[in-house]
Symmetry: C2
Subunit: 409 residues, 2 copies
């Protein structure tokens, strides 16, 4: 686990702020759940599964209760829905919070990390699926990042695999391998299937329809029409955006997906892993209370870490925009700062009675945008010399002009 | 520990947003530290002390390392400063985050709760003290809450207690009792001192000067002038606000305070406990690295729970402002919602193909402000009937007028 110093925290706060705004514009409301959950919730049958549970931090309270740190935001959501039967459906919630995995650390993977999830509970419709896709496009628009969103229906994929003769109990295994198509290529997937003792040619047909120009048509003629294929068409129609691409080989690996799945990738970027992903998991939430058919759900999760990696960094160690440097005017400088603050401007001044050059150095190292040197002359004439710390430009402004200029930025 | 459902989370997010904005306007930058800390940090000599450590959650990772959940945001700040010797001083940081205490739960006290802290490290000046006071006033102004801020200098209080003959080793004990003056009155404090085996009259003089009109003058004439008293005068002068009140009996109980202390109380409110508090703790941060003289520090902490209790609740279960109810127009309704969203309006529509009355009921129960019923007629004529769910008022608007109206709100 690691600290996010001001430089990183300012940056991540900005991105989280943009996401939060978009989530709310799309009608998702915040839900906050504790970081510590009862172990029986984290280890429930419909929860994250064995592999994830192995990486869960476990602890006890003074009452000897078995507890653990949440490893995702979906299990607490399921518990919340299960415990609050009066929630009106559809229930649209977002959560932006820290989760914990006690696994081996790698570059860019930490034991404490942020998840940013939006989910719609209680709506088993193409409109709900499409909304997740539209949300993703809107978030990345707001972040000024070019993406494509790949979608598929895992129920359709299962149907196709069954039609080429894959038995029910091998489906998940095949889909796990197929999920690596982008990463390891057709030969890689075939080798992996062979190693697993499965027929490597089983996926030939899937890859073939994935490569065709009109994939909907290719599937229709090869496998016939189906409600599963119709769902894909409907989501494409509702989302109505050229950046949305149907790829019948996408499976997202996780066994709890039951319908549409989506994954967002950056376009023209060195980052090839997905920056957001999600899908429909109709049986998990209800499964928690023994009613797996009652809570259809679809959601999308945004990866803060890859989004931060792909965004342009700002080298600011402080939020402060303007620093007033007193030249023997501590009281007047403090008063000016207070006036700027009351106008909503992020302003600060010397707290240590330091020299002008030390204060200039401080403002510079911290990455502040502007300084004003405030001496007797400035006060007498009512003119303030504003220095742009980036360009070095200076301009002489009245107080009103100074406030207007800073507010406009 | 408990969930904050949408109703509460929307409300707390709004308050946190206001605080964050004020913190940044005052030049405090965010610092984020992990919730899990090494046990040796949490239990260090200069950390929270034995009582608090008894309530700390403890756990181990797979590498058998001793860990714990943070019980405040100050210890992680101290560790961060100690580990990052290149930080420029003064270092002004805020942190808004969850902390954990495995103690007995009471009404309004939970095992997981939020702390909202601002601290200034590396500035042992009245200007830094005054800034914390000014920040408090500004935050409560922004929250639209009437407060007074009581200030004192615990070094001055100690000086006065010593002058009336209290021995050094009894000072903390006396101050702990004196801290309850508001709650249990003069007699209560005297009884408590007696029970502790201390002279109940020892505080008579302190209470006397606290009651006088000009307290600075009363102390000056009774105890003489001192740098400690001058510091109080200077902070009062810098903060320059009639809501700031000097009370020589305020001690805030905690043994780590070394100078100015502050506490904010609501005026004309049923809530009598403080809504913010803090002070100067010059020896703690440096103490972590064996250099207790090198890191003067002053800070203020805002109580999210009492602030929420004292604020007017909004009964909204959703962030959504406007709900478009389709009358056989699902595609057009979706398109209108997307258009509103692209204008930054928090809009939503039916995802379940429900009837008009069910959709109206949903919008009503969720607390949405407006609905538009969108049928063929509305589309043909380009006029939308906007219904105010609060007042029941309806108005007929063009799409442009609708957008302008919603954006203006």
């Amino acid at each position: 686990m690691r600290d996010a110093g001001p430089e990183e925290a300012i940056f991540s706060q900005r991105i989280i702020g943009i996401m939060r705004e978009r989530f709310e514009i799309f009608g998702f409301s915040p839900l906050e759940t504790p970081i510590v959950e009862r172990w029986e919730v984290l280890s429930a049958k419909y929860a994250g599964g064995e592999d994830i549970l192995k990486e869960a931090f476990r602890l006890k309270d003074q009452g000897d209760r078995d507890l653990g740190l949440r490893y995702d935001l979906t299990v607490p959501l399921a518990r919340y829905v299960a415990c609050n039967p009066n929630i009106k459906m559809p229930f649209k919630r977002y959560a932006i919070g820290r989760v914990y995995r006690d696994g081996p650390i790698k570059l860019g993977r930490y034991r404490e990390f942020m998840q940013c999830d939006c989910d719609i509970i209680g709506a088993d419709t193409a409109a709900a699926d499409a909304q997740c896709v539209q949300l993703a496009l809107s978030v990345f628009d707001a972040l000024n990042m070019k993406v494509k969103v790949v979608i598929n229906n895992v129920a359709l994929l299962k149907l196709m695999l069954q039609k080429v003769g894959i038995p029910e109990d091998k489906l998940t295994d095949i889909m796990l391998s197929l999920d690596k198509l982008k990463k390891i290529g057709k030969e890689g997937v075939q080798k992996e299937l062979k190693d697993k003792g499965l027929n490597p040619d089983a996926i030939e047909n899937i890859i073939e329809v994935s490569g065709s120009e009109d994939r909907i048509q290719a599937i229709k003629s090869k496998y016939g029409d189906s409600p599963e294929l119709e769902r894909v068409s409907k989501v494409l129609e509702l989302a109505k955006d050229a950046r949305v691409e149907f790829d019948p080989s996408l499976s997202r690996g996780l066994s709890y997906y039951t319908g549409m799945v989506f994954e967002a990738f950056l376009v023209d970027s060195e980052i090839t892993s997905s920056v957001a992903g999600g899908g429909r998991y109709d049986r998990m939430i209800g499964g928690f209370i023994g009613r797996p058919d009652d809570y259809p759900a679809v959601g999308i999760s945004f990866g803060l870490a890859p989004i931060m990696d792909a965004s342009e960094k700002e080298a600011r160690r402080t939020v402060t925009d303007i620093f007033i440097i007193p030249i023997k005017t501590p009281v007047e400088s403090n008063a000016l700062v207070q006036e700027l603050r009351s106008e909503g401007i992020r302003a600060d001044t010397d707290l240590l009675e330091r020299s002008i050059s030390k204060n200039l150095d401080y403002a510079n190292v911290q990455g502040m945008s502007f300084v004003v040197l405030l001496g007797e002359n400035e006060l007498k004439e009512g003119k303030y010399k504003l220095k742009d710390m980036g360009s070095g430009d200076e301009k002489l402004l009245t107080k009103t002009e100074l406030i207007d200029f800073l507010k406009e930025r």
